[in-house]
């Protein structure tokens, strides 16, 4: 049992997952599965971005879908209206994510908690409305067709599903790698300190604004890059891509996987994506199942797949440690680590 658990948290698992991802197209007979997987990976990249600002830094950003759309639109506009190739446009999309992220971040990060969340919700909505209304630039609600796909090389053609899958997988691996490096680094710890408390972080000499903005910009770059890849595969986009629904979807992925965890974003995205595909056969009735399922998940697995597992394991380990400690004078007893954010009802009371 313990050995299994250790395996599940050891790097071996990550390698195993990677190998699985690499061979997936070979063992899957069905191109549709590969296609779904590739799009899920794209979303996962964006969700990793959200995890940086929301999971690690504690700021719920509801404009995330908007930045995803910005990335997609930059690629669309540059390749269609200005005849750029995909890859330069892709880089431009990342840059645009950074620039807009910086501008929005500087203004919005002065706000706290729900105010920040709803403020960004509005920013997201404004992005949506601008994409829809600013016809001269975005083609308005008509959307943009014939977006250039990523240029391949040699025999590799990224308009084919399988090569595209590997392309996205490469980006995903890069993203996860960067996040894992980040989360273990001093910078990641800095973000965590901010998540616990602004005051605490400041008293430790952390420049709040600079770090928050950095986390925000990182997250928007992730979102915009994912959006750019998305534009490259769907090759048609409209303002609906900026719909707040996508942001909520991403939050759901994050929550189901485990917020603030490394593998959570990926597992959550895959779980929900496949679940939705499975429920497709129920057509319009599927929400009757999906809705309550979401509620049940949130009630009974509040920390998501990965978070729940880590807690369970953490408690076991701690139990063991304290058994070994027996006889020491430490009388503190073991308990479940409580939920990260303070109990809501008491939140107002932390005077």
């Amino acid at each position: 049992m313990d050995r299994l658990m250790n395996f599940l948290v050891s790097p071996v698992l990550k390698w195993a997952l990677l190998v699985l991802a690499v061979v997936f197209p070979l063992i899957s007979s069905n191109e549709y599965h590969i296609y779904v997987m590739a799009t899920a990976f794209i979303w996962a990249i964006a969700v990793y971005g959200m995890n940086i600002i929301t999971g690690y830094c504690g700021q719920l950003n509801l404009a995330h879908g908007g930045f995803f759309a910005i990335g997609a639109y930059v690629v669309a506009i540059l390749t269609v209206d200005h005849e750029w190739a995909f890859w330069p446009a892709f880089i431009a999309a990342g840059l645009a994510g950074a620039i807009f992220g910086f501008l929005v971040g500087v203004v919005s990060l002065r706000l706290k908690e729900h105010y920040f969340a709803i403020f960004t919700l509005c920013v997201g909505f404004i992005i949506y409305l601008l994409l829809e209304k600013w016809e001269a630039l975005t083609h308005g609600s008509l959307g943009i067709i014939n977006i250039a796909p990523p240029e391949g090389f040699g025999f590799v053609d990224f308009t084919e599903t399988v090569p595209f899958y590997y392309l996205v997988l490469a980006f995903l691996v890069l993203s996860v790698w960067l996040v894992s490096r980040l989360s273990r680094s001093l910078l990641g710890r800095t973000f965590l300190a901010i998540r616990i408390s602004d005051d605490l972080a400041q008293s430790l000499g952390i420049n709040l604004m600079r770090n928050k903005v950095l986390a925000f910009v990182l997250s928007t770059v992730y979102a915009a890059s994912a959006g750019a890849l998305y534009a490259g595969v769907v090759r048609f986009i409209g303002p609906a891509e900026a719909d707040v629904v996508h942001t909520f979807d991403m939050i759901t992925y994050l929550l189901v996987g485990g917020i603030g965890t490394l593998m959570g974003p990926l597992l959550g995205t895959l779980a929900i994506t496949w679940l939705t595909q499975m429920l497709q056969s129920l057509e319009e009735y599927r929400m009757i199942i999906f809705g309550p399922m979401l509620v049940i998940l949130v009630i009974f697995f509040p920390r998501g797949i990965v978070g729940g597992f880590l807690t369970w394991r953490g408690r076991r380990l701690a139990n063991k440690a304290s058994q070994q400690d027996q006889g020491g004078e430490s009388q503190a007893s073991v308990q479940t680590p409580s939920t990260p954010s303070a109990d809501k009802q008491e939140a107002g009371n932390n005077a």
Partner: protein
């Protein structure tokens, strides 16, 4: 008046109270001593209904009240002044106090009388009565919490570390006040770190360790007990 028999309480799988049996007689002032994390607050919350015991029974004046809702217990006269105060931070001090008398809300004259009494006890609150409770200093908030509990005109008053964060002068007054309240006929159950001061006004005391009651005795026995002196009173 209050009787606990073999009460267990759990947080998830962690047993915070283990087979606790105790009695508090009418008019007594019983002190509960224990280190941090020993289970004092848990015991209080179990009595006041915020936590459901996982085993055992609680009787109040001969009536089984195990698992009753907190509101029902307040109605029955069991009022707790909780650790961490649990005030209504955005309401004025006055509103906080008045809400303390929620179960007596029909008795306007009675409320007025208790209110005067409380304000007399903590004059600073009179000064701050229109300020939001959350904007008071830590100690002032503690006073509001005690005041609010008194507004409920308790038969059994449970005070969970009331001296926490209070200035010595106020602490002294507070213990006097507790004694006064007790003499006037209210049964008091008191958890305190300030063991010496608490024992001085107590009738009896219990000592709790790791969720278990390990010692019981009247005031003098406790004050004389070497182990208690060492652990809870200091050199």
């Amino acid at each position: 008046m209050l009787k606990l028999e073999n009460v267990d309480a759990k947080y998830d799988s962690f047993k915070a109270l283990d087979n606790v049996s105790m009695t508090v007689g009418q008019g007594e002032l019983v002190v509960l001593l224990g280190a941090n994390g020993a289970g004092k607050t848990t015991l209080f919350n179990t009595i006041s209904g915020l936590l459901k015991p996982s085993a055992g029974s609680i009787t109040l004046n001969g009536e089984d009240v195990t698992g009753r809702r907190p509101s029902a217990l307040v109605q029955a006269g069991v009022v707790q002044c909780p650790e961490g105060r649990k005030l209504f931070p955005e309401m004025s001090v006055m509103k906080n106090l008045v809400l303390g008398a929620y179960v007596h809300r029909r008795d306007k004259a009675g409320i007025k009388k208790t209110l005067d009494h409380v304000l007399e006890m903590f004059p600073i609150l009179e000064e701050k009565k229109n300020q939001a409770a959350g904007s008071l200093s830590g100690g002032q908030q503690q006073m509001v919490a005690i005041g609010r509990a008194l507004m409920g005109r308790p038969k059994l008053l449970m005070l969970d570390e009331p001296s926490l964060g209070l200035a010595p002068l106020v602490v002294k007054q507070m213990f006097e006040t507790i004694q006064t309240i007790n003499r006037a006929g209210t049964t008091v159950l008191l958890a305190e770190q300030n063991a010496f001061a608490a024992l001085k006004i107590a009738t009896r005391a219990y000592v709790i360790e790791n969720g278990r009651l390990v010692m019981e005795g009247d005031r003098d026995a406790m004050l004389g007990n070497e182990a208690v002196r060492k652990a809870y009173i200091g050199a």
